[in-house]
């Protein structure tokens, strides 16, 4: 035990002496939380909108005024003909063009029907959908106002919508769990795999292996500091998101921390597994960065909902541990549900931990070269 403690101390010294890495380790989660909270937003405001008015009458001016004064749109120019549309789109500032057909006002009065076309720049599908939805809504508002007397008593369904769990539609409800998941993969899997392969690459692993320490002690000694570091990091993230965004842990904090520890263990065993299969640090970095980090961001349901991906990704992502952890953390933190809602996911992560441990133990050899 004393030997083991000495070894852990040595590992801590390694980490603390490299203060730059340490700063970054705590800097990444802080920066991510702040960026996600303040920068990443899907709201549309001040979207560039140009108008091609082939009619130029009272009504079209009224509609244009209503649209620009709504706060969602910014005037990026008045066009003179259809040929201008392509040009303003290519310049990239304009997201949509509103086209009033010629004789718009006359038609509206005489025939009761007039057409306005919304041409949106589909190279950004989300913006295009939202922009044309907003513009349509403003125009149907105009319709309603125009016919206020006629329609006031008509039978319509008035939906009352309640946004569960996230009434103000803030994006950090989604991102805080994601960042936590990401950071743990980064610190646990990446850092451990790199430190262990580092000893291998420099040959210092030999020194450790001929020491009286048993292999299990070496491995445990390597991962203990990272276990503590990532735990502190999680606490930091939780406190930060609580202080800055007022995002509290709705469910049981103890349960959340226990689940987090389980997930940290899983990531650590994954890191050990990576280190047993890679010979150089570059290899370990590549496997963990490209094999783990990007899929964690993109396939875990962190930013992109899994339900909408092709079916096969559902299967692929079901072997990715982050997917389960995100469900757990969302349930406990945001929905405030208890263990009975997350026991299945917990079981999956526990099984994965055991699986990774078994494989690593089998692969770990006392001798470096056969």
């Amino acid at each position: 035990m004393k030997r083991f403690l000495g070894f852990v101390k040595k590992e801590f010294l390694h980490i603390f002496r490299d203060y730059r890495t340490l700063i970054i380790l705590f800097g990444i989660p802080a920066a991510q939380i702040l960026i996600f909270g303040f920068v990443v937003s899907t709201d549309i405001k001040d979207a560039g909108l140009a108008i091609l008015d082939l009619s130029k009458d009272e009504t079209t001016r009224k509609i244009s005024g209503k649209i620009y004064s709504s706060g969602f749109f910014r005037n990026t120019g008045t066009l003179n003909g259809y040929n201008d549309i392509g040009q303003v789109f290519r310049q990239g500032r304009t997201k949509a063009v509103l086209i009033f057909e010629s004789g718009f006002g006359d038609k509206l009065i005489k025939e009761g029907r007039a057409t306005v076309s919304i041409v949106a720049d589909g190279s950004e599908p989300n913006v295009a959908t939202l922009v044309s939805n907003y513009a349509s809504a403003i125009i149907s508002d105009f319709n309603r106002e125009m016919n206020l007397s006629l329609l006031s008593s008509s039978p319509v369904v008035q939906p009352e919508v309640r946004m569960y769990f996230n009434p103000s539609l803030k994006s950090h409800f989604m991102f805080v769990p994601g960042v936590i998941t990401l950071i743990m993969i980064l610190i646990c899997a990446l850092m451990t795999s790199v430190t262990i392969t580092r000893e291998k690459e420099f040959g210092t692993m030999e020194v450790l292996l001929v020491s009286p320490l048993r292999p299990i002690q070496i491995i445990l000694g390597k991962v203990t500091p990272y276990f503590l570091l990532s735990f502190i990091n999680i606490i930091t993230i939780l406190v930060l998101s609580w202080l800055v965004f007022g995002l509290p842990v709705k469910g049981s904090l103890v349960l959340l921390l226990v689940e987090t520890m389980l997930y940290i263990m899983m990531s650590l065993t994954l890191g050990i597994l990576i280190s047993t299969v890679s010979k150089t640090m570059q290899q370990a970095i590549f496997i963990s960065a490209i094999g783990l980090l990007l899929p964690t961001i993109l396939l875990s349901g962190f930013i992109f909902p899994i339900e909408n991906m092709p079916k096969i990704y559902d299967y692929v992502s079901s072997i990715m541990p982050p997917r389960y952890f995100i469900v757990i953390i969302k349930n406990i933190m945001i929905k405030g549900t208890g263990f009975q809602f997350v026991w299945k996911e917990t079981l999956v992560i526990a099984l994965m931990t055991i699986l990774f441990t078994v494989i690593s133990v089998k692969k770990f050899s006392l001798r470096l070269q056969q």
């Binding site: 990443v40 290519r90 057409t115 950004e124 989300n126 319509v156 850092m191």
Partner: protein, 372 residues
């Protein structure tokens, strides 16, 4: 010049002899492109509904039928217990709950407004917003059909209406692959440039081989150029590979000039490589480099507007993006590839990229020390 050529040859030899890296350079982007492009989508297609119909009238059944008929919704559960509906929402088995109170049909038949309650899981704000929009769409369709059926044919035509027609240019079907591929290509090129080049230099430091170069008469700028050129070529080759695959597999439209695209990518790579070498000058171990590089990559990518619209960012973030090469190239790529923007349209992005490239490369050359 000869010196640089020899140094570049040395770099290529080193890369090709490293079995893992030489394979990873092409295999990794390939796999990522294949796996990620179809996966990243904001489309919301299958909103699972739980319906509570307390009214059981012809009108309420008609409305539910409309939800079933919509491509966005699927009625997965029907229940008369509010507790059960809530627990379905909590366990994530359904995404939205619709509650039609009793008296719904009666109100409509009498010509009065009727109430409808909807609860939407909005943890993912984007998804919640879209679900809301689709829900409103179905309901306003329903409203319109009630109004028009209730009114006399003659009376309806008197009401003046503005009709709205929607069209999407460049991407008629709003295919997300078209939107994501140019962005994913940028991330891949960034990852290759940033990770490989920086790690390569730090590795030489870490194992001490850099001293062998330091004692030769090779000049600082020559050394930096020789470290940059191979990764510039690899990055562009990866881009070409990615474009070819995108064309074959996803049939991505390519409207603009190929030459312009590669020009932009080359300037971008110089910027990224310059920054990578600059950071590596500060780092003494690969681990250290990797973490600093990750930090920059994460900040650059998240703030680049790849997932969310650039215009929605606060002003200070948009200002910061002036020195973010990733933001410029993503915008540039989308404009050139999807809209066929010419050099005049993207001159601002090109100029900014060039400025960043010069800045970072100068930093890298100045910071590199031959003394240990």
């Amino acid at each position: 010049m000869r010196t640089i050529l020899f140094l570049i040859r040395k770099e290529f030899l080193q890369i090709s002899r490293n079995k893992f890296i030489s394979k990873a350079i092409f295999a990794v982007p390939l796999i990522q492109l294949l796996v990620l492009v179809p996966a990243v989508t904001f489309e919301v297609k299958h909103i699972d509904l739980c319906v509570m119909d307390f009214d059981m009238s012809a009108e309420s059944r008609d409305l539910i039928g409309r939800f079933e008929g919509s491509p966005f919704f699927g009625v997965k559960y029907t229940t008369w217990s509010e507790d059960e509906a809530e627990s379905l929402l909590y366990s994530g088995k359904c995404n939205a709950v619709i509650n039609i109170p009793s008296g719904f049909g009666r109100d409509l038949a009498r010509g009065n407004p009727a109430k409808l309650f909807a609860g939407i899981d909005a943890i993912n704000a984007m998804k919640g917003q879209l679900a809301w929009a689709y829900l409103n769409g179905v309901i306003s369709n329903f409203n319109e059909s009630i109004i028009s059926s209730g009114m006399q044919q003659a009376k309806a035509s008197v009401i003046p209406r503005t009709e709205v027609r929607n069209r999407y240019w460049y991407n008629e079907m709003l295919n997300y692959k078209y939107y994501m591929l140019p962005g994913i290509l940028v991330i891949l090129v960034t990852a290759i440039g940033f990770m490989l080049a920086g790690l390569n230099l730090v590795r030489e430091k870490e194992i001490g081989t850099i001293e062998q170069i330091n004692v030769t008469p090779v000049r600082k700028s020559q050394f930096i150029i020789a470290k940059m050129v191979p990764f510039l070529i690899i990055g562009l080759a990866d881009l070409a590979l990615g474009l070819t695959l995108g064309k074959i597999l996803f049939n991505i439209p390519f409207e603009g000039s190929l030459l312009l695209l590669f020009l932009g990518a080359a300037i971008f790579l110089v910027a990224v490589l310059g920054l990578a070498l600059f950071i590596s000058a500060f780092s003494s171990t690969q681990q250290q480099y990797m973490f600093v590089a990750f930090f920059f990559m994460i900040v650059f990518i998240l703030m680049s507007g790849i997932f969310t619209p650039f215009e929605s960012m606060p002003l200070w973030a948009q200002k910061f993006d002036l020195i973010n090469p990733v933001a410029h190239l993503i915008k540039f790529n989308r404009m050139v590839m999807l809209k066929g923007s010419g050099i005049d349209d993207v001159s601002k992005e090109l100029l900014l990229l060039s400025a960043i490239a010069i800045l970072f490369t100068t930093f890298a050359v100045r910071r590199y020390r031959k003394t240990a």
